[in-house]
């Protein structure tokens, strides 16, 4: 019979040896580095076929898995098949809207791949032509990350034209037209929003934009006339009224609140009382 003490020693020695082996094993494995993320992922069509009538459930489960998987931030190569995963989910049920939105969020904020997100949102918009938010999101990403205002304007135009698009989409559209240096068109759009505003907040927002756009147009025009005045008289006008006397303008414009612009006779500059710096890019 083996003595009890010997068994205790064997137990302790075995445990220590196992811990040592575990330690050695850990040294050979990079738990938090690259890992083979996929063995394979069948196409959406194949999964739809293999789900035998439970395709919705298959899409749900793949989507839930993807949320957990892309939240595992310690995996450094988790974005290798990002587009494929969301393409597969959306191929199984193209009308399932959440994967487009969440997938594009992951692509933008985690993988930092805006064109990939735009492709996914375009697909969402194609399969759900009555939904405005795919174009809205795409427009926002173009505006925020690509600084591609014409493209952002294109998406917002498309979103605003869809039924049920909320008022803020139309405001974004008008703002992007303004950012694309088309103040005349932007002014008309904001004026329409101002006149049809549904609440005080919307009216105030439209007012501020109209104020800014009008002041940009007016001050640009006035500064042009002031420059011509200086060419003719070799000095800055002492006040804006001198522009009328010199027949350079027929009347002085006022800002959208009805107040006069502020003129600096020493520098020859015209400014509005309030300035919104929206064009800081």
């Amino acid at each position: 019979m083996i003595p009890g003490r010997l068994l205790a020693v064997i137990f302790m020695a075995g445990l220590l040896l196992a811990a040592g082996m575990q330690n050695r094993y850990d040294a050979t494995v990079n738990y938090f580095g690259d890992r083979a993320t996929f063995v394979s992922l069948p196409s959406g069509k194949a999964l739809k076929t293999l789900s035998f009538g439970y395709s919705n459930l298959a899409a749900d489960l793949l989507f839930i898995w993807s949320i957990q998987f892309y939240s595992a931030t310690y995996l450094t190569n988790r974005f290798d098949f990002l587009e494929r995963v969301y393409d597969t989910i959306t191929d199984i049920t193209p009308q399932y809207k959440e994967p487009y939105i969440i997938g594009s969020l992951i692509m933008v904020y985690e993988a930092r791949d805006i064109p990939m997100a735009l492709r996914l949102l375009d697909k969402g918009s194609r399969h759900n032509p009555d939904e405005w938010f795919f174009d809205q999101d795409a427009g926002y990403y173009c505006f925020k990350f690509l600084k591609d205002y014409p493209k952002a304007e294109f998406y917002y135009q498309r979103a605003a034209a869809k039924p049920g698009a909320p008022a803020f989409v139309k405001r974004w559209k008008a703002h992007l037209v303004y950012l694309n240096d088309d103040p005349g068109a932007a002014y008309r759009m904001w004026l329409e929003i101002y006149e049809n505003a549904g609440d005080a907040m919307e009216k105030a927002a439209a007012f501020n934009h109209l104020y800014q756009i009008k002041s940009e147009i007016d001050t640009g025009l006035l500064e042009e006339k002031i420059a011509r005045f200086r060419e003719n008289f070799r000095r800055w006008p002492s006040s804006l009224v001198e522009l009328i006397k010199a027949r350079l303008v027929s009347a002085l414009p006022s800002d959208f609140s009805g107040n006069d612009y502020i003129y600096d006779p020493e520098k020859g500059t015209v400014t509005a009382a309030r300035i919104f710096r929206w064009k800081r890019r």
Binding site: Y54, L57, D60, I64, Q95, E98
Partner: protein, 256 residues
């Protein structure tokens, strides 16, 4: 309905309802349908969509299991236990026997489905999904699908063993849900004979995906009333055809 047929139907229902497996499957169907709430917690966005998807899939899956397991045994058991001699010695024709068995199974499926569907419907309402009447339409379509499956299992049960019946019925169930691939498959075939063969199979085999309106229910997309009507008529016609062939086979069977 003749009394003999009614008697067989009621007896079939009682026999199925006495089966412990029936209760077990109904219990698990309800359990899985209710556990859809847990799965819906894991998603982002519309959790109700996942809840409905998972719950409807659970009810669907367990109802199909009940239909297959009950259907494949019915006629075979009567032959194996020799009780068929008792029944057929009475003024009951073989045709009435098959139709009675089918009606009894249909009643069994209706009971199982009503139990699972009723609880799930209330569960959706309690989870904030409102009284979604589309779910009721979904369960109606599922019932039609179950009737087709029951008719298929009854057909196989009338001439082969339960294991083979199970294999054949499950195969037809799976094929029935991928019938849409037949149309695509046809386009890649070049030999006219095979094209016609695939076309023939397409019309011969049951198209069960017709009854699958989960997408319309959970994504709240529009129904085409004509599609629903044609699906109902398709189910009726297919069941009639299956019962006819089952009766034909059963008439020729000799019992020893």
């Amino acid at each position: 309905m003749k009394m003999s047929m009614k008697g067989i139907a009621i007896n079939t229902f009682k026999e199925s309802a006495r089966n412990k497996m029936f209760y077990l499957l109904v219990f698990f169907g309800i359990l899985f349908a209710l556990s859809s709430k847990l799965i819906s917690f894991l998603t982002l966005g519309d959790a109700m969509k996942v809840l409905k998807d998972t719950g409807l899939a659970a009810v669907n899956f367990f109802c199909v299991l009940i239909a297959i397991f009950t259907g494949i045994n019915l006629v075979y058991k009567e032959i194996e236990k020799k009780t068929i001699f008792n029944i057929l010695s009475k003024p009951v024709s073989r045709d009435q026997f098959i139709i009675g068995k089918f009606l009894g199974l249909a009643l069994t499926m209706l009971t199982a489905l009503a139990a699972m569907a009723g609880i799930f419907f209330l569960f959706v309402w309690m989870s904030g999904g409102g009284f979604d009447l589309k779910i009721i339409l979904y369960f109606f379509m599922l019932f039609l699908e179950l009737l087709v499956i029951v008719a298929i299992s009854l057909l196989f049960s009338s001439f082969t063993t339960p294991i083979l019946s199970f294999i054949f019925t499950v195969s037809l169930y799976l094929i029935g849900h991928i019938m849409w691939t037949f149309n695509e498959f046809k386009t890649v075939l070049r030999v006219p004979f095979w094209k016609h063969f695939v076309q023939g199979l397409y019309y011969l085999l049951p198209n069960l995906d017709k009854f699958n309106i989960k997408n319309e229910v959970v994504l709240n997309t529009a129904f085409n009333p004509w599609t629903i009507l044609f699906s109902v008529l398709y189910a009726l016609a297919y069941i009639l055809a299956l019962l006819a062939v089952t009766i034909l086979i059963f008439r020729r069977r000799e019992f020893q």
